[in-house]
Symmetry: C5
Subunit: 355 residues, 5 copies
Amino acid sequence: MAKKRTKKHQKKSGLAPGSVIYTGEKSDKKLFLEVFDYTPEEYIEKELNSIEEVFDFKLTDCVSWINVNGLNHVTEIEKLGIHFNLHPLVIEDLVSISQRPKIDEYEDYLFVVLKMLYHDADENIINEQVSFILGPNYVLSFQESEGDVFGAVRDRIRQGKGRVRTMQSDYLLYILMDAIVDEYFSIIETLGYKIEDLESDIFEGSIEETATKDIQELKKEILKVRRSIFPLREVISRIEKDESNLIQQRTKTYYRDIYDHLFQVTENIDIYREMIWSLMDMYMTTISNKMNEVMKVLTIMASIFIPLTFIAGIYGMNFDYIPELHYKYSYFILWGVMIVLFIAMLIYFKRKKWL
Amino acid sequence: MAKKRTKKHQKKSGLAPGSVIYTGEKSDKKLFLEVFDYTPEEYIEKELNSIEEVFDFKLTDCVSWINVNGLNHVTEIEKLGIHFNLHPLVIEDLVSISQRPKIDEYEDYLFVVLKMLYHDADENIINEQVSFILGPNYVLSFQESEGDVFGAVRDRIRQGKGRVRTMQSDYLLYILMDAIVDEYFSIIETLGYKIEDLESDIFEGSIEETATKDIQELKKEILKVRRSIFPLREVISRIEKDESNLIQQRTKTYYRDIYDHLFQVTENIDIYREMIWSLMDMYMTTISNKMNEVMKVLTIMASIFIPLTFIAGIYGMNFDYIPELHYKYSYFILWGVMIVLFIAMLIYFKRKKWL
Amino acid sequence: MAKKRTKKHQKKSGLAPGSVIYTGEKSDKKLFLEVFDYTPEEYIEKELNSIEEVFDFKLTDCVSWINVNGLNHVTEIEKLGIHFNLHPLVIEDLVSISQRPKIDEYEDYLFVVLKMLYHDADENIINEQVSFILGPNYVLSFQESEGDVFGAVRDRIRQGKGRVRTMQSDYLLYILMDAIVDEYFSIIETLGYKIEDLESDIFEGSIEETATKDIQELKKEILKVRRSIFPLREVISRIEKDESNLIQQRTKTYYRDIYDHLFQVTENIDIYREMIWSLMDMYMTTISNKMNEVMKVLTIMASIFIPLTFIAGIYGMNFDYIPELHYKYSYFILWGVMIVLFIAMLIYFKRKKWL
Amino acid sequence: MAKKRTKKHQKKSGLAPGSVIYTGEKSDKKLFLEVFDYTPEEYIEKELNSIEEVFDFKLTDCVSWINVNGLNHVTEIEKLGIHFNLHPLVIEDLVSISQRPKIDEYEDYLFVVLKMLYHDADENIINEQVSFILGPNYVLSFQESEGDVFGAVRDRIRQGKGRVRTMQSDYLLYILMDAIVDEYFSIIETLGYKIEDLESDIFEGSIEETATKDIQELKKEILKVRRSIFPLREVISRIEKDESNLIQQRTKTYYRDIYDHLFQVTENIDIYREMIWSLMDMYMTTISNKMNEVMKVLTIMASIFIPLTFIAGIYGMNFDYIPELHYKYSYFILWGVMIVLFIAMLIYFKRKKWL
Amino acid sequence: MAKKRTKKHQKKSGLAPGSVIYTGEKSDKKLFLEVFDYTPEEYIEKELNSIEEVFDFKLTDCVSWINVNGLNHVTEIEKLGIHFNLHPLVIEDLVSISQRPKIDEYEDYLFVVLKMLYHDADENIINEQVSFILGPNYVLSFQESEGDVFGAVRDRIRQGKGRVRTMQSDYLLYILMDAIVDEYFSIIETLGYKIEDLESDIFEGSIEETATKDIQELKKEILKVRRSIFPLREVISRIEKDESNLIQQRTKTYYRDIYDHLFQVTENIDIYREMIWSLMDMYMTTISNKMNEVMKVLTIMASIFIPLTFIAGIYGMNFDYIPELHYKYSYFILWGVMIVLFIAMLIYFKRKKWL
Ligand SMILES: [Mg+2]
Ligand SMILES: [Mg+2]
Ligand SMILES: [Mg+2]
Ligand SMILES: [Mg+2]
Ligand SMILES: [Mg+2]
Ligand SMILES: [Mg+2]
Ligand SMILES: [Mg+2]
Ligand SMILES: [Mg+2]
Ligand SMILES: [Mg+2]
Ligand SMILES: [Mg+2]
Ligand SMILES: [Mg+2]
Ligand SMILES: [Mg+2]
Ligand SMILES: [Mg+2]
Ligand SMILES: [Mg+2]
Ligand SMILES: [Mg+2]
Ligand SMILES: [Mg+2]
Ligand SMILES: [Mg+2]
Ligand SMILES: [Mg+2]
Ligand SMILES: [Mg+2]
Ligand SMILES: [Mg+2]
Ligand SMILES: [Mg+2]
Ligand SMILES: [Mg+2]
Ligand SMILES: [Mg+2]
Ligand SMILES: [Mg+2]
Ligand SMILES: [Mg+2]
Ligand SMILES: [Mg+2]
Ligand SMILES: [Mg+2]
Ligand SMILES: [Mg+2]
Ligand SMILES: [Mg+2]
Ligand SMILES: [Mg+2]
Ligand SMILES: [Mg+2]
């Protein structure tokens, strides 16, 4: 029963706090750096290749969004962290990808970790950790690898649509988080469809063999999504209550909007969780119903033919003296008796509603 | 297993906050505007066709109830929102119909979202989102489409019955919400009847095939109603604690009355939820009881006739030397033995209470 | 499945707040008014027929207990309410009999609603709503109809036993509520006996047919009693924290005593609730055990006689050349073989503990 | 279904508050009074027969432990209560033995009720109510009857071991309660063993008939122990927060130690509670597994011999023209065919792992 | 059912508070003392054999870590405790190994108890109690026996890696606790693998006999780990809120990091707990599915051959006059009829999807 596996967590066990170790699967993806720097009037968009080029953007007055992709490049990320004066534990967490969504408030920046969930081309759920550092005039974002749900945010910055260019970095963080939370709706919608599909498959009896497995898998998926999303509520409500100057009062209204959305999402997840539990019960009753049907067929066949066979057996006996054997119409009378018995049985089972 | 569906939430994903997008099913229903404007002495009732005609009512001293039906008319609703100086996020929420019941307190108005539940002609539950804006001397209400539970409220305004004409807008909001909550009783009463019907159907064994499906459907219905109603308790208790001047002290007593009603409703829903879970268990035992009955019939038939058939088989053998075959009374003695065996079996099963 | 029923709640839906509508079943019971008026030295006991006769007792210095039976007499109750200066919502609640136990604190009186549970002659639980108005020197009580658990309270007032005659109206309210809570013990004791009876019936297997129904019914009864009693804890603890002058400090010790009793009751109810859930599981295993027994009988009978019948069948064949048929002792040898087989089978099943 | 029983609670229903009624089973046990009176230097130990002899100990400067056994002697207990100036409700509670563990704080004494659990000679759990009155220099304890867990406490007082003789009455109360809580460990240890025994009995299949009953009984026992112990946590934490002078600051550390112990106990009880629930599920699967085995035997026997019997039946027919009957080797060929069929069946069932 | 066992807790029952009794299994392991004494510049590492040699380290200015292994040496531990001025209850708890994780704050030291979980060579979970005393410039640690998870901590002290040598004793306590919590990840990872293995074993049907036992064992293991870990969250958050000077402000950030890790761990444990419950349900459906399959085989065999055997029986009867027996082609016609019946049955069962 016990299979050998390499343990994921042995990597970090026993290391000093602040040890910057990438805990994801080793990947040789390129480091990809992307910078947006904007004022209400203009914006700069750059793709960079070395971490040092990013350093200058810290000082500009403009709002800067520095998006770092590729958490396997720990040395570069550590350099960036030191430049931005981040606490060693923050730098450690940036590249440690099994964080629980959380917010840590430091004196001159906020550190937020959350989970970006989205479907890949095959409709699998991708669960990618995204961390944000919110400074007075910059937002740093750290993704495991390229590919995210921020496309529309980039467009809005480029086109100056909406409020984003006229607001500060706290609003930038908001629209990034909002984009992530918006995508959650799509994720749970798919979960809802999967439950419905499974439910109708069970009703129609078309998936016998794999039903328990499917239910169990779906349950795990729901529990994982739940774990990725639920702690974010606490994060958002901590932002709303933040007393540093990093989050302005008027922006908090926007964070409350995210909070509403999260509540809708989490409420749905809990309903799905309850539904999946009853799916198992439902499947169990379906199986029992089928067995009932099988048993009825057996019982009907056996109950009808076993007595008839007994009667035939009687007159197959070789006793020297069995008077009935010699009457001319015995055989036909016996047929009559057997047919009557047969019909009586049918009526009996009909009455019992087994037929 | 995976069916293709268009996703409902893709509509909004990635859009800027404050994007006013109707998230319901596209409908080409007319925009329907209804205004009540009243003082203790007199009242005006109007049906309007354009949003601009409404604007004047904001300024009157009288209490105004402006009821907007047709959330698909986003442009008009946005105009109205801007005229009434609503926050962009409020306008977005007005037309976004999968809101969770909530209250948002702004400086000069309260924004309340809740779910109006009522039965249509076919006894299906209609779940329509209704939003209210409570201003100093007006209440705006926004419904997905025409048709609501406010008939009696309109009559009371027209006839000057009760306190409504003598009170302010906070009382108007109260009687509107009270009308919605009153209707919840009717909804859960129907749910209770459905559970009772299902329960007696299961006891009488008359719905075999569809029972699991029916239970599952009813469970979903209960969970949905639950989700629509439960958050409203929090909304009402926030109103009671409201410290703006929008809700007067003496009106709060009335909101507490709604709170009582909500508690009665939610308590019932939780009892139904517990009952529906045990319905499934009950159904399972019913199935098992039936299988028991089937098995008993089979066992009785087989246990009685298989040994008898064996005996008949013995004397059907063709051995040259079977002494019994040649005694004159063998056949009759054998009949005697078999009848005794038969009766013994019957008594045995009777004793076991299987007969 | 959907049966037609008249809805109970339609009566009130859409009515103005404060509409005084009796929500119970229409009854033509007489209005019955009873008044106790006492000082430490003396007491007056009266039965009155018209509500106006009651009015005078409000002014006396003595403590007055005015007990109103017959909530269908709404006009009279409304008159009384107005005379005692009650809030319209209170008057509405007095006659609206599906209230949840609650306390509402008004400036010069407390309004308490609770459920009086007692057994009628047939051991059915009667669930009657009782409301109290506690004023500075009076207690009004409102019952659905005559018949209550206050017999001993009346005696104590008459005989001047205990503290009651020497204390104020807050103590009178206490002993009335205490009498109601004392009766709860009797109610839950009966529930406990019912569970025990059902449990032993299931163990002894004597109620097959109706067991699920009985369990389900008892579960509902427990849930209903629970709902009637649980909210009262909150009511009592609100009384203990009351800061008006209506409840004196030294009386609060007595209310704490009720609170203790309530806790004992509710704790028991929650244990019963857990027990009833496992009763269902227990019943399910009982059924399965029985089926096991049925199957064993079938399997033993079939396993023993089917092979023997096969052997008999072999020598019933009509082949021209079957050497065994012609040996003189074949038949007896065969009997020997069959008996050995039979015994071997018995031993096998004995070993498996199926016999 | 409804059996007649005398109700335990009818005794008190309707009585005036403060009515001192013994609610246990009527017992004619002698009243047994025991007094310890000690200073650091010396101690007195006395067994008394009349309640008046106790009165003097109230006034001594020494710490006095007055242990009263025999709650049926209500008159004496009432006298004692009045002498020690106890509130009527306290005296009522002292002899009312279905109290929930609780603490009531009065001006010059603390009143603590808890449950002393210990095993009698037959390993049954004895659940005896013990009440304590903690005064400035005395502790009164009230037990239902003689026999307790305080043996070691008495020894420590006599021998002057530990701190007890040097400390005040609050420390005496502590070691008495500590002795009771220490015994809880023994109680839950036994519960744990019972669960383990039941578990292995179920695995080994040795208790078929009574398993559900045993599980149900154990569940009740756990629920009862739980109810006796859980409320005590609240009691202890109230003592820790006590602001009267009755509990000194340095003694509170000791009460925190009891709290730790209680937490260990209650945590274990909740684990047992979860285990017992899964025992029932486990038993259910065990039954189903057994039924599976039974069914397999039946199916194998029937599947092998029914076709063979059919074949034998074919050649037992009496048609005039059945060519095979007349070939010389038919019979032996048929045996060959049947043996092949037999072996094929065995292989088939072997493959299915039914054999 | 009741087996005799010696009770673990009888050891302490009735003893005076502060009685220093080792509650683990008697072991004759040597007392092993290890001391680290360090400043940023240098460190001393010593292994000592007598407790008195340790006393000096209390006074040094350097940070000292005194690691005591072997809780059976109660006299030495008591001496050490008295030298370090520990409260008697603390000394008692040090050697009492079934403590719940907790923190007790004393005036000049903190007392922390937790559970060190790690795998031994056979992958069994070792659950060892570790207690810490945090003083101004020392940390005492107490382990049941040699062997721990602090290897990397020792290396860091020796090599001066990380911050440890530059920080105070509060940071030393942190890295020790961090090492323990890091190991929890490995523990729960293994639990996760066990669940997955059990799950796939159940799906593949390869563990029939022991499945319930395995599930039950795993459930217990999860509950035990849960109990060892959960209370630590409360401990850490109490450290974060500590207001003594023992924990510096800047170190609290590090404790918050442990808190995050604990949350990740406990969240996983709760998911495992939910999964293990559904494993049991899953196993139950698997059993039922198998029984369904067994029943189908039986029903198919019986339904096909019982009617055919009946037909053969008919023509095995010995009536003098059965016309069919004498037609030349009767036998072949009958074969035809039987083959048709046979095929019809196969098609019927195919349609029902039983084949
Ligand atoms: Mg570490
Ligand atoms: Mg990415
Ligand atoms: Mg959004
Ligand atoms: Mg279940
Ligand atoms: Mg599917
Ligand atoms: Mg958006
Ligand atoms: Mg919104
Ligand atoms: Mg809806
Ligand atoms: Mg509408
Ligand atoms: Mg209402
Ligand atoms: Mg179930
Ligand atoms: Mg109304
Ligand atoms: Mg009301
Ligand atoms: Mg009722
Ligand atoms: Mg009455
Ligand atoms: Mg009472
Ligand atoms: Mg269940
Ligand atoms: Mg009964
Ligand atoms: Mg009483
Ligand atoms: Mg009491
Ligand atoms: Mg008891
Ligand atoms: Mg005793
Ligand atoms: Mg103790
Ligand atoms: Mg301790
Ligand atoms: Mg279960
Ligand atoms: Mg002790
Ligand atoms: Mg342990
Ligand atoms: Mg160790
Ligand atoms: Mg760590
Ligand atoms: Mg970290
Ligand atoms: Mg189950």
